[in-house]
Symmetry: C2
Subunit: 910 residues, 2 copies
């Protein structure tokens, strides 16, 4: 066991610890010490360190208790001295204490608090006499027995469906007495309750309820340590990436009682509005109550401020008379204490320079602070509070930027469900939160139907086993997309995010039957036309309609974005394939397009016919004929995009997906195609079969297409260059950057670059003028990163395609990880989905290597990222440290990336 | 233009160059200089350097001629001096010359030789007079016009189907004259021939045939330079990895004439038997002939030695009387010249310390050597000659080892077609040479039929679109396998090589129809039961039966192997899944198994049912039940393999392929399976569908299976450990090494290793004893190589799975590369198929990184390779330089790998 100090005392404006000691004393403990030091009234107590917790897991319970016992006893003596009179375990004037866990990071619900520790049959009588309030004494006692029984003695049932035996007894007694509220119970009822509580403890555990206060205390302390390794805590840590080695501290404090009568109360409050960020003190309290009563929902809590109270009453439809009588504010009921509380919250916010979430108790007219911590808040609140604190001079611009969690911005950009409506909703399935937002609509299963129904003004949800480019038009008109297969970077997910459209993907348990046009979820069958709702931010699927609300972008949001850019080194581009997406992204501050996929264009309208004609062609001449039809259409597409990005660079990637994605795979559609093309069904079928690949992801795609059918690259280059020149003619400015996909050897890249340069020169010669353009490459194959020095010989820019790079570096198919990724995350084999969060350890090595090798040959090489990771904050930070010039992400991630880029630059400077 | 010496003279035992100057003078040129220096009679001449050729491509024809003209003219004067009399272009006593190309490496057929240059209508008459042999003069003239017309003036048709206009004329005249052989033509016929030749030149080229000898010479010289870039030369260079920058030299030599009458002759010879390696001088000659007559097949060439002549006659069924009269040996016809030739060939072999391939001409009783070079030879010859030369003290052991091309050993290990029978065979398709050897048999399309037919004693060829593990038993009984799809590392190819069985894979143009049980090849339809033959060494498919012959392994082969091991640092293991394969490999010198794939075992006999039962199980309990049935069978399999490898280590890889490989995909088979398993067809169908993956190569396989279904790894570990202990009980020695496949993170590897160690300890506890075993991992995912330092923390050995590593590093699916790899090789985007030859530049970086990072943590880490590359010589050499402990390859590649490993060690030492 370490020989450091085990126990830190605080009390009476003195403290052995301070606010900077969160690692050792936990968050709650450090702030308790801190509040003492700045003169805020806190019940005296002591903190057992997190190191003791770690040792506890090494040397065991008995040894730990033996070693820290002297220190705990000494600290308890200090507490007794600070409260001046009552002694813990004392016979005349007994001291009661609370025991609370407190880890370095807040872990709500890890272990419940134990209040009123030290009570037994003798002590309760003394307190009844000394307080002159037997009801208070017995109320405290029955609360203690229940809490201790649940938390320390393990009486709390594992499952929520099972009944807490204590709650059962409470209900029994209330029924026997014919009362509804706890407060209506009399002293003798509470005495009976304690009796029955102890009996049930004896029955279930085989032991008598402990009566010795010190035994109670050690039981509680070790229960806190044990709770560090309970399932809930392990799960929470995994979810929040908290290492088990951190351990938890234990805080033991002299009790103060909010349940001592009508001059006592307990409450929680926020220094600002945690929903909107408005700088307004707010919170709730209950008179004559203790601990969790405020949030337990048994009694309706009252507002702390008068203003808040009036506002609340209006919302609830309660008249001012009723409000004043039944729900008065603390400002009204205890104006002096309120004034003190108001000053303290101001003091705390100024002291911590952040919005606080505080807990307090008023014991017989005296205010005690029990906790303060930085408040959890919504994205909107986070942005507004940060920006206002800058304006107030409380924090610096850099700190404001660092304080906003980039992911939280997402909340500001997408529709959300109305909270009240959501409460009543029934969850019927769960998938991956593939694209955020909320959506409600009628089920359709086919893209064609989606278009037809949408044309009739219906709101629809497209439900598919998986989506393919053929579904694009249907996805475009849908409110949301639900798929049974595919991960966070499946086709559906990627496209939906690009569109800023809600999507739940990989809901593996739903059973879709295209034939009967039904989907089975949680045992119910839903047919085409039935309403469902999706939450793309959580992956939940609900039955029926749920009202959605569109969030408004506040001025604070714009301010934050401007401020972010001020400190960024990298800039942010967007992945956009249409003028509409490009315009949306530009509105969000994108400084160009980092990835314009040309393949999606081929699916719109009549283009698919020409594309298929090309695929069906038996020779180059046939392909050229079909490509000639595609040329003007592609050129027009590019003109639209260049126009939307007027003056900003647009990186156009040449054709990437395997050709089989452009042909239908079902007999019916193949027959239709045959008819359209004027050829036999067998011909179509044979061609489609010949395009089949076992592992299309590793097959004939990317520049492998461009090198086997150079005429495709020629056509696309011509379309790009001509479109740019046409746009410039209109007085606008196109800045094309042509990008070669999937190059794995310098030679294949070089062949494509040669085609691009040759065709560009041809166009220049035809038109008698030239424009500037760049030719570069995706780095998305491990071999490309490994030999990037060679690539940089011929490429003018690199863009890391980390989706494919992750696939090949891990050997994971994005479309097939559903069968093992959830298990891998569950077993902690993977800390995160590497398609969402860039794997810095493995894939990151290749990204760094690729960048460094590239720049070793071409020092000013422009380097960016266009994989999905370009919009994920930790990945953006990594891109910054690698030295990239920009990140590119889907339009709705642009603000997140801008903030993350700024934070990366600020962190680096620190 | 470089200012080095352009032209090097040789003649009269003097030479400006020597044998070490192959880079500058080409192989032929350097040896001509060399022969002069060692006193061998060579017609005087000069060599224009390869540097001039390179300059020619920079500065062009006119400039080149201008610059080198003085040097050529000066050298020609030296030649005139050396021959003592005749002058080039001289009116009284004209000198004729030959012009030959000569690159650094021999490039047969790049450019034809031009003989008799300097002839025109005047010169021919002078020579007729001076030689007293007008027929000789005109025969030489007509030969010259034809050769010059074909080679320099471009009269030779591009396609073999088109007629050479000169040949047409020869046939016309022979017909007019009613003769069959050229030698029967009279002087006036030859004169007429020259006249018509010149007319056709004028007609086709628009120009008169050049009469000025110098103009002829410059035409010939520049034609040699031009030929360096003709299609044939480019193709040959690509095939043999010869850089274009090497250029070709030009050799101009005074003519000597083998066609000057009955005391003249020309011939080719080998210092040893190029087929068997027997140390016996042999060759062919023709009296009164020139140049290519010997090999052209118009006249039957005669043997040089008496012994050879007698042997030849016996083979041809020719009586000794006829032989003596019509086909006497040179030893008989010109015994003095023969003696001189015999001494010279001895001299040359001793001088070059290698078997020589020589050309000579006898002019009027005087012997002239025209060329000597290291002879091309068969594998058998290569081995025998090398070993005998060591015995003769001619070369060192190391040189003998270096001299054998490892790939050539393959010829010694597999059946080959009878050459005579092959000549008559009709090629009907071409695929990839997937597994060497020759096979003849009847077509069957299904594995079941293969087994049934083979049971009847029929020899069969299994013809499939592609093979899967379901076909294993059928493959095992087949003589050979032909597939329409799949590359060199497709399932069919890998398995066939493992079995040492002939296979042609990816014959893309054949059309297989399983329904009608027919295959269409080259327009013909072949049915089940029809005979075809496969050459797995070339990829050719023939119609009908062709006799095959099994080669005998000579004692020289064993000697070479023993000698190789003496100098190797790495040792060689084998990839074997059955006791039979293991035994074969052991016979070939394998020192253990580097890869035993357990999955193949599941397909034999009844095992597949238990395997399918496991796959169909809905929960762990069901899987465990099925696995319990598999345990004893697997244990028995392992015992067999351990026994075959008694005393040598056996690396067993845990289950690797995705589960869908074990279930049938066709309705009929699914119904059968349902019946066998006693469940509904729909259940089977649904399960198989649920196992479908878009990219199975990147899906749920390898240790991902073992980590999602740990019970599989448990069963396999138990089977391995128990089998090893059982075998040891029998007094034998099993050395198991358990290998985890497809690990990409340390954590997933660690979880598997923990399972292995736990189960092993369980077995040890049950049996009350322990055995030694290792646990290690495949390094086959790029991320594994990148983070190999972490892997080495927990793995006791690494085995590079370069098949998968290549797939993921390049992003190529082995099964799908057929659509672009041939084009990539053709366009020289790839220099070689990276699945055959390890890509040292890209994949090699990961191999090196993985090895170094692994050893940085565990310095004595055992490292090997078990991908297909482990049997490819250049890859084996790479593995040596990386510092691997061993390579592992299919049984029939073991000798090749042993030799390659030895060569690598010797080369490193040099």
């Amino acid at each position: 066991m370490s020989e450091n100090k085990y126990v830190y005392f605080f009390g009476g404006k003195q403290a052995e610890g301070n606010g900077s000691m969160k690692n050792l004393l936990g968050g709650k403990g450090a702030n308790l010490h801190d509040m003492n030091l700045i003169g805020i009234p806190v019940p005296p107590g002591f903190t057992i360190t997190t190191e003791v917790c770690n040792d506890y897991y090494k040397i065991g319970k008995d040894e730990t208790v033996k070693i820290i016992k002297p220190a705990v006893e000494a600290a308890m003596k200090q507490v007794e001295a600070a409260v001046g009179g009552p002694l813990f375990g004392g016979a005349q004037n007994p001291l009661l204490v609370s025991v609370r866990s407190g880890a370095r990071a807040s872990m709500p619900g890890m272990m419940d608090t134990i209040l009123n520790l030290g009570l037994n049959d003798e002590v309760v009588e003394i307190i009844a006499v000394k307080s002159g309030n037997p009801r208070f004494a017995w109320d405290s006692y029955r609360r203690f027995v229940q809490m201790y029984g649940d938390v320390v003695l393990g009486m709390k049932p594992e499952s929520k469906e099972d009944h807490d035996p204590f709650e059962v007894i409470i209900e029994e007694i209330k029924e026997e007495k014919g009362v509804e509220l706890d407060t209506e119970l009399k002293v003798e009822d509470l005495q009976e309750m304690v009796k029955r509580f102890k009996a049930v403890v004896k029955e279930k555990t085989g032991n008598d309820f402990p009566t010795n206060p010190w035994e109670q205390l050690w039981g509680a302390i070790t229960a806190v340590f044990d709770s560090w390794m309970n399932d809930r805590a392990i799960f929470y840590r995994k979810l929040n990436n908290i290492p088990a080695e951190w351990g938890t501290a234990v805080n033991v404090q002299a009790m103060v009682f909010g349940n001592m009568g009508l001059n006592s109360a307990t409450g929680v409050a926020f220094t600002r509005d945690a929903a909107t960020g408005e700088n307004i003190f707010n919170g709730e309290y209950l008179i004559n109550a203790q601990g969790e009563d405020v949030v337990a929902g048994i009694r309706t809590p009252q507002q702390i401020t008068l203003e808040g109270s009036i506002r609340w009453a209006a919302q609830q439809g309660i008249t001012e008379d009723v409000r004043k009588k039944e729900y008065p504010s603390l400002e009204e009921t205890m104006p002096v204490v309120y004034k003190e509380l108001f000053d303290i919250q101001n003091h705390l916010e100024t002291h911590y320079k952040d919005m606080q979430d505080i807990e307090f108790t008023i014991q017989d007219g005296k205010l005690w602070m029990l906790q303060t911590r930085n408040a959890k808040r919504t994205g909107a609140c986070m942005v507004r509070a940060a920006m206002e604190m800058v304006a107030e001079g409380m924090i610096s611009e850099k700190d404001a930027i660092l304080r906003v969690e980039p992911e939280k911005l997402d909340e500001l950009l997408h529709p959300v469900f109305d909270k009240a409506a959501l409460k009543k909703a029934k969850t019927v399935a769960k998938g991956l939160p593939a694209s955020p937002g909320a959506a409600t609509g009628q089920i359709v299963f086919f893209a064609d139907d989606a278009e037809a129904w949408a044309a009739e003004g219906k709101k629809i949800i497209l439900v598919r086993i998986e989506t393919s480019p053929e579904d694009l038009r249907g996805m475009n008109v849908a409110e949301g997309i639900l798929t049974a297969r595919g991960g966070m970077t499946s086709h559906a997910a990627v496209v939906a995010r690009g569109m800023g459209k809600c999507c739940v993907s990989g809901a593996g348990k739903i059973e879709i039957d295209y034939k009967t046009r039904t989907v089975k979820m949680s045992g119910n069958v839903y047919s085409e036309g039935d309403f469902i709702s999706l939450n793309g931010s959580t992956g939940e699927v609900y039955e029926g309609k749920i009202t959605t609300m569109s969030p408004e972008l506040s001025g604070y949001f714009g301010e934050l974005m401007t401020l972010s850019d001020k400190y960024s080194r990298m800039y942010v581009r967007t992945n956009a394939d249409t003028p509409h997406d490009a315009a949306v992204a530009r509105k969000f501050g994108a400084q160009g397009i980092g990835l314009c996929r040309t393949e999606h264009m081929f699916f719109e309208g009549e283009k698919i016919f020409a594309m298929r004609e090309m695929i069906l062609a038996d020779d180059e001449a046939g392909r050229r004929k079909a490509l000639a039809k595609l040329l003007p259409i592609q050129r027009q597409d590019f003109e639209g995009i260049f126009e939307a990005m007027d003056g900003l660079p647009v990186t156009v990637r040449l054709l990437d997906p395997p050709l089989h994605e452009f042909v239908p795979h079902e007999e019916e559609n193949q027959k239709e195609m045959a008819k359209e093309m004027g050829i036999s069904y067998e011909q179509v079928k044979r061609k489609v079969e010949s395009l089949h690949e076992f592992n299309p992801m590793l097959g004939h795609r990317g520049c492998r297409l461009g090198n086997t059918y150079p005429e495709i690259s020629e056509m696309q280059t011509r379309a790009i260059i001509e479109a740019a020149m046409n746009l410039n003619k209109k007085g606008k400015k196109a800045i094309p950057e042509i990008m070669i996909p999937l190059a794995g050897t310098k030679k294949e890249l070089e062949m494509q670059i040669n085609i691009v340069r040759r065709v560009a020169e041809e166009v220049f010669a035809e038109r008698g003028e030239k424009i500037e353009y760049l030719v570069g490459t995706m780095i998305e194959i491990p071999r490309a990163a490994l030999t990037a020095n060679e690539f940089a010989d011929v490429a003018e820019f690199f863009s890391f395609g980390t989706n494919d790079l992750t696939q090949m570096t891990f050997g994971y198919s994005r479309d097939d990880i559903g069968s093992f990724l959830p298990i891998y995350l569950d077993k902690n084999i993977l800390k995160f989905d590497p398609f969402q969060v860039l794997d810095q350890e493995g894939v990151g090595q290749l990204v760094r290597m690729g960048t460094e090798k590239g720049r070793s040959v071409r020092p000013n090489l422009k380097v960016g990222i266009c994989g999905e990771h370009g919009g994920e904050p930790s990945s953006v930070e990594f891109c910054h440290t690698v030295g990239m010039n920009y990140v590119s992400c889907s339009p709705f991630r642009v603000p997140i990336a801008r903030l993350a880029a700024s934070q990366a630059a600020i962190k680096e400077g620190k």
